[in-house]
Amino acid sequence: MNRRAQAFTVGVTGLALTLAACGGGTGASDTGSDGGDGKVDSIKLVAAEYSSETQGFWQDFAKTYEEKTGTELEVQVVSWDDIDQQSSTMIQNGNPPDILNLNAYASYAKDGLLYSADEVLSPDVKSDLLPNFVTSGTYDGKLYGMPDLSSARALFYNKDLFEKAGIDAPPTTWDEFAADAKKIKDTGDGAAGYAEPLGPEEAQAEFSIWMFNNGGNWKTDGKWSINSAPNVETLEFLKKLSTDGVTQNNPGKTNRTDGAFADFAAGKAGMVVGFSPLAAQLDEAKKVEYGVAPMPSNTGDEPKSYGVTDYLMAFKKDGNAEAVKAFYDLYYQTDQVNTFIENEGFLPVTRSGVEKFSSDADLKVYLDTLTGVQLTPTDDPTWDTIKLAVQQEIGAAVGPDGDPKAILDDLQKQAESGS
């Protein structure tokens, strides 16, 4: 072999190695969809990371699933910051997972990517799901968004600050609320009366719970009602809290996790809208004596709670229907779904779950509201973009030059042109 031939061999070997390396990345996913008899031997779950417990739960789950079905379950846990980007990239590349855990599903259903419950959910499981979550998971008459867990919000208050300000009981009306917030602010030790997070992280949640307790909603009778009179009044109330100086600094630019929750956990806020994971965090830190109460109402009606559920949706791929069905069957077994929910500190999505958790005194305040909880219109694909618009725009309304009416009018216009 002469030198030229040797060089050629080296080059070809290099080429082969490069190709092999490139191929390695996609090879794994191909095995999933090419079972010989039209059935797959592995499926992939992409799940959102709720806490450090999430990975462990899904890994154990995968083991049980494999023992039961003989099908491999590949688990990829992705942080909430990145999951929109990752799922979008997977679909863009024509390589979606079999199951995706996300806070939205309607756009995916609209694009015709998903299995409906009729195809992959056992009737027993479906009838166990709480009716309001079935409603929110139903697009165009069919259930596509299977709920994985839920949360409901309530008013958290700092007992020490309440005592210092001479307040006996948590507020039940908005007038009381504003007065109490002012009293706490006036104690003068630098604590805000109310921590109001209208920054981009979760502004739609903060606005929702106030809106629901003023008789407003995002949609009324199937039509967008973002700029309805009660909603404008609500946003004006939130702005007034800010201009009166009873909230923390700059509420339109405060996020929830590292802003409002951090303030409350540090004893620097008298009240905040929280949920059970915040309670767990406060219990662990043991820094703040807190109480949990229903939200104050502005209409004299029963207090409303704002609920959130996330979804496990299944993508239509050749031959994976049976494996996906087995996945749901296993997930909704009481010892699986409720373990997951308990680990993460959230609330159940099934009747059997509510029964199981009903003995837990800490969860009572949420469970009582869970069946009557109001959700955002996640069943409308337009909401998937309106939610983002709300996150990016509504904070400006409570700033010094903010105009609540104009901002809500603009959001209403966007929603109407989108649907």
Binding site: G14, S88, Q92, N250, K253, N255, K268, D384, G395, Q414
Partner: protein
């Protein structure tokens, strides 16, 4: 394989010296025998640079659903959407301010720092380490750290300034519209300094001591020596530092994204974070628009760098 090696061995050694001398004469290998050696790098470049570039342009010409599903061709729709977007000019102005101020400050402070590091003094090694360590930390972690330092309620900096009675009320560095950009610029300079200072230090060390010595003997003042000898000889290093900084700073995503994450809208975004938000965070939620902005970003930085090189007459410096 062993067979081949054994056979190949003697042949190669036999013809080796003759060929080698021939190659040094001509200076390059014949085209055909170079091809196998080029395959790997060419494939790598194709896979890592060319393919993504093509994919980006393709994406910018496509229409996508919010889920990421391609719906079809969009023609130049994404580009016209970008150019008619309300916030484009705010974003471009932010980008201009961000790049120019950060690069200028970095070079100025970097010059001083390099000058300082070049001196021989007790503890110089410690100081050199102290300057390089921030560079080793991940940008996201640095940025996260600065959100804690600059925070209104819990930030160390505000506590310090208030305790020292330098300010009466805390400043909302990351939320107050007049402070967000200056605060981000401060952090931007902080993270760009190590690299810049070291490039300039290398440049300083490359200046022959005898020239400086000769000037001193001839009676030049330190200021004159710096102005007429050090700075001109430092020009190549300054050039490298400023061009690379221009590109790094322009492309700086983690800093802006992390420090600005509490502010709604696009009022403090640069074109890079704008492009990301268009795809995943804003109501547009459009991969196509984001890709179009990505293409515009590449063109923008290319034009900026070319214009810059033109101004400082690159060829003259590198070849003359």
């Amino acid at each position: 394989m062993t067979d081949q090696l054994e056979k190949a061995g003697p042949v190669t050694t036999g013809t080796g010296p003759r060929r080698r001398s021939k190659r040094t004469e001509t200076g390059y290998a014949s085209g055909l025998s170079a091809i196998p050696w080029l395959i790997v790098p060419v494939l790598l470049i194709a896979g890592v640079v060319v393919y993504p570039a093509i994919a980006l342009v393709q994406a910018s010409l496509s229409e996508y659903s919010i889920t990421g599903l391609r719906k079809g061709s969009a023609g130049f729709g994404n580009y016209t959407d970008i150019l008619s977007h309300d916030d484009l000019w705010t974003v471009l102005a932010n980008t201009g301010i961000w790049v120019v101020v950060v690069v200028a400050l970095t070079i100025l402070i970097g010059l001083g720092l390099a000058q300082f590091m070049a001196k021989d003094f007790y503890g110089r090694t410690v100081m050199r380490w102290a300057i390089i360590i921030p560079w080793a930390a991940s940008l996201v972690i640095t940025a996260r750290l600065f959100t804690l330092i600059l925070d209104y309620e819990h930030g160390v900096l505000n506590q310090l300034l208030v305790t020292l009675h330098l300010i009466g009320e805390p400043i909302d560095f990351l939320g107050d519209d007049t402070w967000v950009m200056p605060a981000m610029i401060g952090v931007g300079v902080f993270v760009s300094l190590p690299f810049t200072a070291y490039v300039l230090l290398a440049g300083l060390n490359a200046i022959p001591a005898d020239i400086v010595e000769a000037a001193r003997v001839d009676g030049a003042s330190p200021r004159k020596i710096y102005w007429h000898i050090t700075l001109p000889l430092l020009r190549p290093a300054l050039l490298v530092a400023s061009v690379l900084n221009l590109i790094y700073v322009f492309n700086s995503f983690p800093l802006i994204y992390t420090l600005n994450d509490r502010n709604p809208g696009f009022s403090h975004d640069t074109s890079i974070t704008y492009s990301y938000k268009l795809a995943f965070k804003a109501a547009e939620r459009s991969v196509g628009m984001s890709a179009a902005m990505g293409v515009l970003n590449v063109l923008l930085i290319l034009v900026v760098v070319l214009v810059y090189l033109r101004i400082i007459r690159w060829r003259e410096v590198t070849q003359g």
